[in-house]
Amino acid sequence: MLSQVADRPLVQGDPVAVVDDILEDADLTATLVREAGFVPVIIAPPPPSIEHLLSRIRNDARALVCDHRLTGTANVAYYGAEVVARSNKDHIPAVLLTTYADVDTQSIRRWRSGIPRLLRRGRESDPDTLFESLVQADEEASGRYEDNRRAFRTVVRVEGVRTVEGTRVAEVVVSAWNPSEVVEIPLALMAGAVGEASDDQLRGKRFMAYVNIYADTADELYFRDFEEAPEVPEGWPER
């Protein structure tokens, strides 16, 4: 059994857990992990409880590569994004490898602050990228963030609220990141700060949140710790 938190950096030869609901995919990822110089430990299919899964990862591995959609063949109630975020929080460096990075944007965004790197299966699954990603996750576990992952408290303005495929989504603008691009985030991320405001009341409302405003693309953005922004001082021009 490995210690919960290793007191040294991740090195080649370390065991890396590979979590996937489909054995065939797990096997491919394991080959990649081996090519990157690590020893793969396959967990496929994952257990129904995320706590059990995290416990197995803690016991058997020093790092993690996890698929996002784990419900294809396994009866689980969690997404890989949550596993990766919680694993990184446990100081076990983890990266998310998924085919559906561009589709599952909301379920990934919810946990994005704890996901240092998001790899697209096929296009971004080569050993060098995987190695770099795990090292970056290891660095974050030690509190060293790259600029595009560092969060700053900034203003987030709600442009609109919609229900999309059963999920409530807020369309927000983060002017400090890009004043002319609308980003969709799950409204649940803001639930504590939103209170009981109706959709109409939310439109145009400003919040403060921690956002990694140096992110290169919208899908790299993460949001946390929303709170209502102070009122705009009287006399300030309305946008």
């Binding site: 090519e35 085919t99 561009d102 699954s125 969709e184």
Partner: protein
């Protein structure tokens, strides 16, 4: 060998008292709970200069009081668990609710001096008094070194207990008093039919009077929906949903309630039983809109109900007749109603538009109070109790959605009946006119009806067409989506094969296998276009109306098409305007126009022996005038064969010269351009000899 005892330093009193129970109001509430356990029918709390140090608190009840023995073995014994006398029932039939005595300790420690006076119902004519001076404890080494005396004297006063805490160490803040007032008022609740034995509480603070006025005028009869659910001793759930007319909307059994919750998009199996105490859950859900109040002919003001809900809203948990803090307090939405409403607002209650209670007697003592009195330990029994309530909420939301759908269908049917009825009435009115006027009126009406029916027919045809297109789109998206996984597998496997064989076979690999593996990799990249394109087109971001950078949208689309077009040996020449044109549209609309025209042009090159030029070229051009943007897609293919189709017919749905074509692409282009207030023109043989499409639309 001498006998020894564990001893406790006086500091333990602070640790177990004021540090463990941080809010003074919680301690006071604990004294009130003691009064409840003493079968009191009333309890009065007086705060005298309590907002500053040196003030005084007085708590008085008319309960059964305590004998000296009860004082010794109960009141003065701290930390004893309720489990010791788990089945205790008072003469009035109340299940006792007091716990451990740590909350009481916290209350007593609010001041420097405590005076307890009690007269037991079992020993009338006697009064016992006990004094505690906390300063005495500062001077000793261990708690038990301070000797306390119970003085007994005769008294003709009625049974009951009075507790005075004087010389307060620090004053009650306004928030503490507000919280205390609310906690007291909600302790037995504003709800109907809670307890067989009334327990009247009062506090002489202005906030209490204000809140009491607000809370005591209840508005339960203003509900839009009332949800009641039961969990029986065997853990089996049942529920019913009633609307404001008193009509039962739905009745749910254990299986329906247990499987109503959706997790990760799939329906959950109902549990065999909820492993917790028997419970009753009621939720009054209000519709705080003026229309709804008018509909129900309510004479109350929406605002009154809103203010009342602000004070009492949320789901409160009543354990053995008394409310348990903090469930239902502001910011403690233990059933996550607000979060669930945020996720899916339709027909969901929130703490601002609903008030409810969960009533538990807990005969089996499965719920365990936390030592700091902030609710119950989150053990299996509590988690399952919460799950039961949440499942009931999900079930109710699902039933209300179904109800709404039924009403929508009904409205659709009724609208047809209304049209027929209106026609009959119009005909009747026409018949009653004088003959000359009737003829004119009949003609006018007929014209109007015909025009109206034509309009309806056009819209119905369009709905039909777009339903077909929608099906094509969703099917394509599903296949694209499902193809992603095997495609990723091919890409990943091809990459592995490439790297491994290169390392093992070296030159032999580059000579014999590299180009075949390369073909595999480039074919996979080409296939990727076909999955990315439809998935990209259905992206929500692209369907949002905005000021669209047309060049950027076209460039992104050309990137997606690039592998497909280059595989067909087609060069795209983007001639995009330097003026960076922007227009009010959706990215999806721009893509729909250009993608369909590109697909058409690409197909044109595949018509056998029709190509005139060696190189296959498609020009995509943007240009601007004062107020318009012009998008052109021009190819050097064979052009449009006018012997096969009239030029004006190319826009019609289903018209195509292409084998296996849907004939819908150009229809979409026409409709999208029209929606954007633009115009589209076509030349069968344009600038490069092939087809040329020019679209003009207003700039932003």
């Amino acid at each position: 060998m001498a006998d020894e005892h564990l001893r406790f330093a006086p500091e333990i009193l602070r640790r177990l008292g004021e540090e463990l129970v941080p809010h003074p109001d919680l301690g006071v509430i604990e004294l009130v709970r003691n009064a409840y356990d003493a079968d009191a029918s009333s309890c009065h709390i007086q705060l005298q200069d309590a907002n500053e140090p040196g003030g005084k608190i007085r708590v008085e009840d008319d309960g059964v009081g305590m004998t000296t023995e009860e004082l010794r073995s109960g009141w003065l014994l701290l930390g004893r668990s309720r489990k010791i006398h788990a089945d205790a029932v008072t003469p009035k039939g109340r299940r006792t609710v007091g716990e451990k005595g740590l909350g009481r300790l916290a209350a007593l420690r609010l001041g420097r001096h405590v005076r307890l006076t009690t007269r037991s119902a079992s020993m009338p004519g006697l009064e016992h008094t006990l004094l505690i001076d906390w300063n005495d404890f500062d001077a000793v080494e261990a708690v038990e070194d301070v000797v306390l005396h119970i003085e007994t004297r005769s008294s003709h006063a009625k049974q009951g207990t009075e507790l005075q805490i004087t010389d307060l160490v620090s004053g009650f803040m306004k928030d503490d008093i507000d919280r205390l007032a609310r906690s007291l008022l909600l302790l037995t609740g504003p709800f109907p039919r809670l307890s067989k034995f009334p327990f009247k509480l009062s506090l002489d603070a202005p906030e209490f009077s204000r809140l009491k006025r607000l809370i005591s005028e209840t508005f339960f009869d203003e509900y839009e929906f009332l949800l009641t659910a039961q969990l029986d001793e065997d853990g089996q759930a049942s529920a019913q949903l009633v609307d404001w007319r008193g009509e039962t909307i739905a009745i749910g059994d254990h299986h329906q309630i247990g499987s109503a919750r959706k997790g990760s998009g799939r329906r959950r199996e109902a549990p065999l039983a909820y492993s917790t105490a028997a419970a009753q859950f009621e939720l009054w859900n209000f519709n705080l809109s003026k229309e709804n109040f008018d509909l129900r002919s309510s004479r109350r003001q929406v605002n009154e109900v809103r203010q009342w809900l602000r004070a009492v809203g949320g789901v409160h948990l009543y354990h053995r007749g008394l409310r348990v803090h903090p469930y239902g307090d502001e910011g403690h939405d233990w059933l996550e109603m607000n979060l669930r409403r945020a996720r899916s607002p339709e027909v969901r209650p929130s703490t601002n538009n609903a008030v409810g209670r969960v009533v538990v007697t807990d005969d089996g003592n499965v719920l365990t109070a936390k030592t700091d009195r902030s609710g119950f330990v989150e053990n299996l029994a509590f988690v399952e109790l919460r799950l039961f309530c949440q499942d009931v909420l999900d079930w109710a939301a699902q039933e209300r959605l179904r109800l709404r759908e039924r009403r929508r269908d009904q409205a659709k049917r009724e609208s047809r009946v209304r049209v027929d009825k209106a026609k009959d009435e119009a005909e009747k009115a026409l018949r009653s006119l004088p003959p000359q006027a009737r003829e004119v009126a009949e003609q006018v009406t007929e014209n109007l009806t015909t025009a109206f029916e034509e309009r309806v027919q056009t819209l119905e045809d369009e709905v039909q067409l777009y339903r077909t297109l929608g099906t094509v789109g969703t099917t394509t998206a599903v296949f694209a989506h499902e193809s992603s996984r095997p495609l990723a597998r091919i890409e990943q496997s091809a990459g592995i094969i490439d790297r491994r064989l290169r390392a093992v076979l070296e030159t032999q690999y580059t000579q014999e296998l590299e180009r075949h593996v390369g073909a595999l990799i480039s074919s996979a990249a080409s296939l990727r276009t076909f999955t990315d394109l439809p998935l990209g087109l259905v992206s929500r971001r692209k369907r949002r109306p905005a000021i669209v950078d047309v060049n950027a949208a076209i460039s992104e689309l050309l990137d997606i098409f690039e592998p497909h077009l280059s595989a067909a040996d087609i060069d795209v020449d983007p001639q995009l305007s330097d003026s960076n044109p922007k227009m009010r549209a959706t990215v999806a609309a721009i893509e729909a126009i250009v993608a369909n025209l590109l697909a058409n042009a690409a197909y044109a090159f595949t018509v056998p022996a029709a190509r005139k030029e060696e190189d296959r070229i498609i020009v995509v051009r943007t240009a601007t005038t004062d107020r318009l943007i012009e998008i052109s897609v021009i190819d050097n293919g064979p052009g449009i064969d006018l012997t096969l189709i009239d030029l004006e017919d190319i826009w019609l749905p289903g018209k195509t010269t292409r084998e296996g074509g849907t004939g819908l692409g150009l229809t979409i282009v026409r409709d999208v351009v029209s929606d954007l207030d633009g115009q589209v023109h076509v030349k069968a043989a344009g600038e490069l000899g092939g087809a040329e499409f020019n679209i003009e639309m207003p700039l932003a």
